[in-house]
C-alpha cells in the first residue's frame, strides 16, 4: 500500500506503524461520571467495519507524524490522508 503523506507525498506503508481506529483521537473525559464505562468502550470496543475505515498511522521511519488515513478494509484502497494533528484541532482539541 502507498500512503500519500500530506507533507512528504507518496510513501510505502512499510515506513509506518498502525494504531487502529481514528476514534482513538477522541479520548473520553476522565472527570465524567461515566468515565469508567467510557474508557472501557474507548480502550477495548471497536466498530471494525468491512469497508471505509478512518485509522491512525504513525510515520515511524519517516517524519514521525501521526496521520488519519481513510482506507477501505475490503480493497485496501486509500481515499484520503490527513495529518492527525489537523483532525484533532478541527474537533476542538487544544494544543
Amino acid at each position: 500500500m502507498i500512503i500519500n503523506h500530506p507533507l512528504l507525498g507518496p510513501r510505502d506503508s512499510a515506513e509506518f506503524t498502525y494504531m487502529g481506529d481514528a476514534r482513538l483521537i477522541d479520548r473520553p473525559d476522565a472527570g465524567s461520571d461515566t468515565a469508567a464505562q467510557d474508557f472501557y468502550d474507548y480502550g477495548y470496543l471497536r466498530d471494525n467495519p468491512a469497508g471505509w475505515h478512518e485509522e491512525l498511522w504513525f510515520h515511524e521511519a519517516g517524519d514521525r507524524s501521526w496521520l488519519v488515513v481513510t482506507r477501505n478494509t475490503l480493497t485496501h484502497e486509500i481515499s484520503d490522508v490527513k495529518l492527525a494533528r489537523d483532525v484533532a484541532r478541527s474537533r476542538g482539541r487544544k494544543l
Binding site: S13, G20, G43, Y44, R46, N48, H53, T73
Partner: protein
C-alpha cells in the same frame, strides 16, 4: 457409511460404486432448537459435539458460502498446546488430547501427525522464559522438553544455528504437537454431525437477528427466516460484521494473516519449527511443500489478501534460519482474516441477549483450538454454563481487568 480398511478394499474391488455423499444437502426447516452460524471448523465441531456428547436434537449449521471455505481451509495446520497462562493452557491441552483421539472418534482420516513442534531460543532471557513456559505446560499435563543446540542440529541439519544476529542456543520442544490435514477436519466434523442428524445448510448467509424483549428468536437469512431457541455464532474473522446485526461492538479488530507454500520437495523438515524472534515458522506437508508464515500484516482488513512488506519480512526470516530453502520456489500464497482480540485470547461466552451465544476472537490460533472450541461452545449452548476449561474466556474480562495476555502487549490487537 463407516470408513474402514475393509471397506476401502471392498470398494476397490467393486469399482468404487458404493461410496455415498459425506453429508446431505437439506432444505432449511422453519425452526431449530439450536442454530450455529458459521460452517467452519469451530461451528461444525460445535454442532458435532452438541449432537454426540450433549445429545441435543434439531441442530442446524448455517454457512454463507461452502463449509470449510474460511479460515479452517486457510491456516498452516499446526496443532500444539505450548501456552503459559492458566486461562489458556488447560484449554489448549484439552484440545490437543481431543486431536489425539479425533480420527477414531469421527471415523475420518484427518491425517493427525504428531511430528513435534520446536520453538527456537537465541538468548538467556528467552531461555528463562521458555523454561518457565515448559514448566507451566508440564504442570497442566502437557509435554515439554528443553533441547540443546546439538540435539536440534541432529534433527534439523539444514538449520543455520550460527546466524550472526540470532544464533540458536537451544529450543523448547513439544513432541505431541504437529500438523493436521485442515480441510479434512471440516469434512470429518461435517460428516460426523450430519450422520447424527445435524442439518448443514450451505449458501445461507445470516443477514440479521430477530431480537424481541432482549431475547433472540431466530435469524434472517438469504434463504428466509429461521427460528431457534438458541443461536451460537462461530464466524471468527467476520465476528464484528455478524454481531453488528445485534448492535454489539466487540473487543476485536479483523486483520489479515498471510501464509505460503513452496513447490514440493523431498523430506527435509521432520517437524514444525518456529523462529519467533524473526517472525517465521515452517513445516513440511505430506505432499512435500514447505508450509510457512509469519506475522499478521498489522492493519484492519477483510480482504483475504496481504501486502508485500510482510512477504519480504517472512522470507527474510526463513532465509536467516534455513538458507537452503532459498532454492525452493513459492507455489502459492494467500491471506485469511483473523479476529484479533484485545488481549490475544478468545471469547466463548453468552451475550447480553438471551439465547445468543458467541465464539470468536481466536486471533491466529484458532485451528489448533478447533476440537476444544467445539466442545466448550457445545457445553455452553447445551448447559448454559461454561465448560471448566473455558471459564476465563468471558466477554467481561476486559471490563474487569482479567485479561489473558500471553504476550503482555495490552489492548493493541496487531501486537498479539
Amino acid at each position: 457409511m463407516r470408513f474402514s480398511g475393509l471397506r476401502v478394499i471392498k470398494e476397490a474391488l467393486t469399482g468404487h460404486k458404493g461410496w455415498t455423499p459425506a453429508w446431505r444437502e437439506p432444505e432449511p426447516q422453519a425452526r431449530y432448537d439450536i442454530i450455529i452460524i458459521g460452517g467452519g471448523g469451530h461451528g461444525l465441531a460445535t454442532a458435532y459435539y452438541l449432537a454426540k456428547e450433549f445429545k441435543q436434537k434439531r441442530i442446524a449449521v448455517l454457512e454463507k458460502g461452502w463449509i470449510g471455505g474460511g479460515n479452517v481451509g486457510r491456516n498452516t495446520t499446526i496443532i500444539r498446546s505450548n501456552y503459559l497462562l492458566d486461562g489458556n493452557e488447560p484449554f489448549y491441552e484439552m484440545s490437543l488430547k481431543l486431536w489425539e483421539g479425533l480420527e477414531q472418534d469421527f471415523n475420518f482420516n484427518a491425517m493427525v501427525s504428531q511430528r513435534g513442534i520446536l520453538n527456537l531460543i537465541h538468548s538467556d532471557a528467552q531461555r528463562d522464559a521458555f523454561i518457565r513456559r515448559g514448566n507451566a505446560m508440564i504442570l497442566n499435563g502437557a509435554d515439554a522438553e528443553m533441547l540443546t543446540t546439538a540435539q536440534i542440529k541432529a534433527r534439523y541439519p539444514f538449520l543455520n544455528t550460527d546466524d550472526a544476529r540470532f544464533p540458536i542456543k537451544g529450543g523448547l520442544a513439544q513432541h505431541r504437537g504437529g500438523t493436521v490435514r485442515h480441510d479434512a477436519v471440516a469434512w470429518g466434523y461435517a460428516r460426523g454431525a450430519d450422520s447424527l442428524g445435524v442439518d448443514i445448510i450451505q449458501n445461507c448467509e445470516v443477514t440479521g437477528f430477530k431480537i424481541e424483549n432482549g431475547k433472540a428468536l431466530g435469524v434472517d437469512t438469504t434463504r428466509g427466516f429461521i427460528g431457534a431457541a438458541k443461536i451460537g455464532c462461530a464466524v471468527a474473522g467476520s465476528s464484528s460484521r455478524l454481531m453488528a446485526h445485534a448492535n454489539m461492538r466487540l473487543p476485536i479488530e479483523s486483520h489479515v494473516l498471510q501464509a505460503f507454500v513452496s513447490e514440493g520437495l523431498k523430506p527435509v523438515l521432520p517437524g514444525v519449527v518456529t523462529f519467533g524472534a524473526g517472525h517465521f515458522y515452517v513445516s513440511q506437508s505430506d505432499k512435500g511443500g514447505l508450509v510457512f508464515g509469519g506475522d499478521i500484516d498489522g492493519y484492519n482488513s477483510y480482504a483475504q489478501r496481504g501486502n508485500l512488506p510482510v512477504v519480504e519480512d517472512v522470507c527474510e526470516g526463513g532465509m536467516a534460519i534455513f538458507p537452503a530453502f532459498g532454492r525452493a520456489r513459492l507455489l502459492r500464497m494467500w491471506g485469511g482474516i483473523m479476529d484479533m482480540s484485545m488481549d490475544g485470547s478468545p471469547i466463548i461466552d453468552k451475550t447480553h441477549i438471551d439465547g445468543l451465544y458467541f465464539n470468536g476472537g481466536w486471533c491466529y490460533g484458532g485451528f489448533k483450538a478447533t476440537p476444544a472450541s467445539g466442545m466448550c461452545f457445545a457445553h455452553l449452548l447445551a448447559r448454559d454454563a461454561p465448560h471448566p476449561n473455558a471459564t476465563a474466556y468471558r466477554f467481561d474480562r476486559f471490563e474487569r481487568g482479567l485479561l489473558i495476555d500471553e504476550k503482555g502487549m495490552g489492548n493493541q490487537p496487531n501486537l498479539h
